[in-house]
Structure formats: C-alpha cells, structure tokens
Amino acid sequence: MNTDYKNAARRHHEDAEILFNRLRWANADQLYGLAAECGLKAVMVGLGARAKSSGDLKKHSVHINKLWNEFITFANGRNGAKYVGYLSSNNPFQDWDVSQLYAKASEFHHRGAPPHPRVSPHQSAATIVKKILQQAQSDNLNLG
C-alpha cells in the first residue's frame, strides 16, 4: 500500500472523534496521536520535506511525540512561519507514545464525561493540526 498522509490524517481524526464521543479513551488517544502525526507529515512534505521513508509504510518510525518539535524547527521562511505559529512550543504529545497501544485500557480510566486529563489535551492538539492541514490545503501546498 502507498503512503497518503493527508487521507490518513483525516480518517484517524474522524475515527478518534467517534471513539472519544463514546468514551473509548484509550483508542481515541492512540488515533489522535496518529492523526496529528499524519497531518504534520503531510504539511512537511508540502513544505519540501524529503523523508527517506516515504512510500514504504513499514519504515515510519517517527511519531508525534517527537515530530511536534521537529515541525517547529523544520518550518521556515514566509510559507512555513504561519503554520509554526499554530503550534505551542510545549509539545502536548510529550506523554504520548505509540507503544501505549499495548497498554491496558484501565490506564486510561476516567470516571464520567470529558475532559479527560490525558486524552482531551491530545484532542485539542489534534484539532490544531487539522486546522494547519486545512490551511495548507487552501494555500495550495502539494501535500503529496
């Protein structure tokens, strides 16, 4: 299968929202992280990133817990600056890790309605990335 960051970002985000609304915290959280990763990678490719791994799905090893900071240091010039402005300098996905997919659901236990102390900040951050992606699309970046 081929890489399509833009499409992947959208589907992960949509599914994350569905799970979040059903209080399925653990998997919602996983998907917010993946959605944000794909969204930022799409924009980076649009801004000229040449990732060696593109094309090969098995080689994607950089996730949002690292990518957030990389995006801030990557973007430059007039075109890149406006996207960086959206991202807080403190990576909200610092406590997210792809290996958490192996964690017990009870690790995400939360009584009652949102906000969820761990997942809700990730939801907000994923929404910001979604906005950046939309902005990049309306700017006509070639998102690959």
């Binding site: 900071n69 990389e70 240091t73 430059n76 010039g77 007039r78």
Partner: protein, 419 residues
C-alpha cells in the same frame, strides 16, 4: 534573570563547547522561528535515560531561559526529514574547533546569507540600493540610464521597488507604458502562466532617447492595465515549491535579458533591509551601488547590515568586491569637507566589518584613500534642476549643463567601473 535573544545563542555555543565530548556527534544548533535553540546530533537517540544529555539539557534550560525549548536534543533517527537539518544549504559553520554549525530558521531575510544564483547570461547587472530612502537613488538611475542610452547603449531597467514603485512612471509616459509589470509576472508565474507573450508585454520604451542606437527599456512594477495592485503585491513574495523568491526573480531577469539583449541591466532595489534588497545585492551577481547621505543614521543602518554579513556570511567573498558606496546629493556648501567626512565614515564602516586585517596586500583590505576601494564614494551633487524630477513632462531637465554639474563625475566613473 531574563536571558535576551542574543545572549541565548552565545550561552548555547559556550555550553556546547564545554560539553562537546559528551555530545557523541558533531552538533548543529538549530534556532527556530521563535529564537529557541536546540542541539541536533547525527546519532541515534541514547537509550539510557540517565545520559549526560539530560544533564546538559538542564544546564541549557538555565542558560537560555525562555529561549530553551522543551526538548533540547534532536537525534537523527527521531527525525522525519533529517536532511533538512544535517544537509541544509542554510547551515553555517560557526566554530572550526570544535566543529559547531548553526541552522538559523528565519521568516524573512535568509537571502542576506545565501549564495549568488548562477546565471546563464553574462550581461552586466547593477543594483541601486539605499539603506534609507530619499538619497536620490531613482533620479540618479534615470539620469545614468539616459546618459548610457545617449552613448549608444541598450539599457534595461527593472523597478523592483514594489512597495514604493516609481521609476516606471518617471521614464514612461502613459502612452509608452506596457500593459503589465513585474507584479503581474510574479502572480502569473505562481500559476504557471508567465509565458512569452506576458514577458513581451512587460517592457516599455522610454521616449527620452529618440535618436541613435541606444535606448531605455523599462519593466515597471505595474502596467497600464493595473486595477488591483495591492491584491497582487500581497501575494508577490510567495516561495513556490522548488523556487524561492530569489530564484523566481533570477528566472525573470534571465528571461528578460534573453528577450531584450541589453548592454546593461539596472535594478532599482527597494530601500532598507528588505528581501528584495538582499536578493538584488547578494544573489543576482550584480554590481551594487550603496547610496548614502553622510548622516549617523545612514552609517548606523549600514553597520547593522554589514555586521550581519561579517558575523555570518559564508560566501562574503562572492559579492563583497561588487560593493560601492555612492555619496548622494552632496550639498552645495562645503563640498570638500562633506566628501572627506563621508569617505571617513564609509571607511570606518568597512574597516570595522568587511575589511580583513592583513599585514600584506592579500585579503580584502584597502587604504582609506584608495579610489577603487568599495568604501571610496562615487558622488553626485544636489542640484535644483533635479528636484521634483519629472523628465517625461519636462524634457529640459536633461540640459547638458545641469547634468554635467550634478552628475558629471558620477556618470563617467560609474560607467568606467562597470562597462
């Protein structure tokens, strides 16, 4: 204690030097758009949580204050596009031993430090620039163009003062003005329709020269069709994927040179430290005339720019020989003293920044009184006849006596220098 922008980098360099052996690889300091500094290392992320890197990160936080990022280290294997850091063409070497590089992310102004763009044409280009406005730059350009055309030269002028356009109107009456201008080329090129017909409709011929083989061809900022200039200007500086603004302007210039086959191209640059100026002075292989009034604010502003070049520029040698100061609108009274003071100020500027300290004749260094030195000013005089300069409606302004009085030596000297 608050750490300010400039202290942050100094502190970061110092820390990296002190702890170089603990880094595990050759560091690139990456300063982001906020000025926060990270250390990128071409190694795999250490697996041990208690490495020396954690200690160094703590020291970094203390030494950089708000310019310290949340995560100080970037490791090659944790980067999506590691080449964007380790192989970036904007990377500058700031220390040889130990080897430290800096990658300074900026929103604008990167062109001040980038390499000249190779050109397929070899036509002489001259940029006319003033760090401040009101120095008589555009009038001098018009008079020089007229002079060159009188001598049988084909002169091509580009109005790159897009925020304050003028040379087009100065030299072209409405009836001679082309339909389009540079601003149109920039927005049309962004959607891939800057074709040959557009290029032909960018250029108008000035009626100021009506005989002989010489002529003045002008590419104004906007054309006669203009209805929405600001809407275009607000899009003009877009970097396209694969071509930034400098490369786009170089492309335009080469296409025009091919079409027009001029003997010389004069670029009217925007004043001040703007990207257009950075491009026209350092990246288009042009001879650069730096206009100046002999005022502290003029030399102070040039100094800010020259210090930046001196501190960071990896390719200074590729354009520093092309710089030349021009003393503009030299006052009528006490000319000799004015010019001497001007020369001294210009010398101090160059000696403190770009000139190299050498004990012999090698290296970039000049005597204060060396006429061919970049600091030694060309000059033209203030003259009543060239105020409210409007040669299209008042051709008599090119009266031979007035031109010679105000611009005589300037015209001769600059023409000898570049042609």
């Amino acid at each position: 204690m608050i750490i300010r922008f400039q202290e942050a980098l100094e502190n970061a360099i110092q820390l990296v030097e002190q702890h170089y052996a603990d880094l595990g690889g050759q560091p690139v300091l990456v300063r982001d758009l906020y000025g926060r500094i990270r250390i990128a290392l071409p190694i795999e992320a250490p697996t041990d949580e208690t490495t020396q890197h954690n200690d160094l990160a703590t020291l970094f936080e203390q030494a950089l204050g708000n310019f310290s990022p949340q995560s100080v280290f970037l490791y090659r294997d944790e980067l999506f596009d590691s080449d964007a850091i380790f192989n970036s063409p904007d990377k500058i070497n700031i220390s040889e031993t130990p080897r430290i590089d800096l990658l300074d992310r900026q929103i604008t102004g990167q062109d001040w430090l980038r390499q000249p763009i190779a050109s397929q044409t070899s036509i002489q280009r001259v940029t006319l620039f003033g760090i401040k406005g009101g120095v008589g730059r555009s009038t001098a350009l018009a008079v020089w163009a007229w002079y060159l055309a009188q001598q049988g030269k084909r002169v091509l002028i580009l109005d790159l003062d897009l925020e304050s356009p003028g040379i087009g109107q100065t030299l072209l009456p409405e009836s001679n003005a082309p339909n389009f201008g540079i601003i149109d080329w920039l927005v049309e090129e962004a959607v891939e329709q800057a074709d040959e017909s557009l290029l032909r409709e960018l250029v108008g011929t000035s009626p100021l020269v009506s005989s002989g083989i010489g002529d003045i061809r002008i590419v104004p900022a906007s054309g006669t069709q203009e209805k929405d200039y600001i809407a275009k200007l607000s899009r003009a500086y877009m970097d396209l994927s694969g071509a930034d603004l400098a490369q786009r302007l170089s492309r335009l210039l080469q296409a025009l040179e091919k079409q027009e086959k001029p003997d010389i191209v004069l670029l009217d640059s925007r004043a001040g430290m703007h990207d257009i100026a950075a491009i026209t002075i350092t990246r288009l292989n042009a001879y650069a005339l730096l206009f100046a009034l002999n005022t502290p604010q003029t030399w102070g502003a040039y100094r800010l720019l020259f210090q930046h070049w001196q501190r960071w520029h990896p390719n200074l040698a590729q354009f520093r020989d092309n710089l030349k100061i021009v003393a503009g609108m030299v006052p009528e009274i006490d000319r000799a003293n004015y010019l001497e003071s001007c020369r001294q100020s210009a010398y101090d500027l160059f000696a403190d920044t770009l000139y190299e300290e050498t004990s012999n004749d090698e290296g970039f260094n000049f005597d204060e009184k060396a006429i061919d030195a970049p600091h030694y000013p060309l000059k033209f005089y203030w003259h009543r006849a060239f105020q409210e300069f409007d040669p299209v409606s008042n051709r008599e302004v090119f009266d031979e006596n007035s031109v010679l009085e105000a611009y005589g030596t300037f015209l001769k000297e600059i023409t000898n220098l570049v042609l």
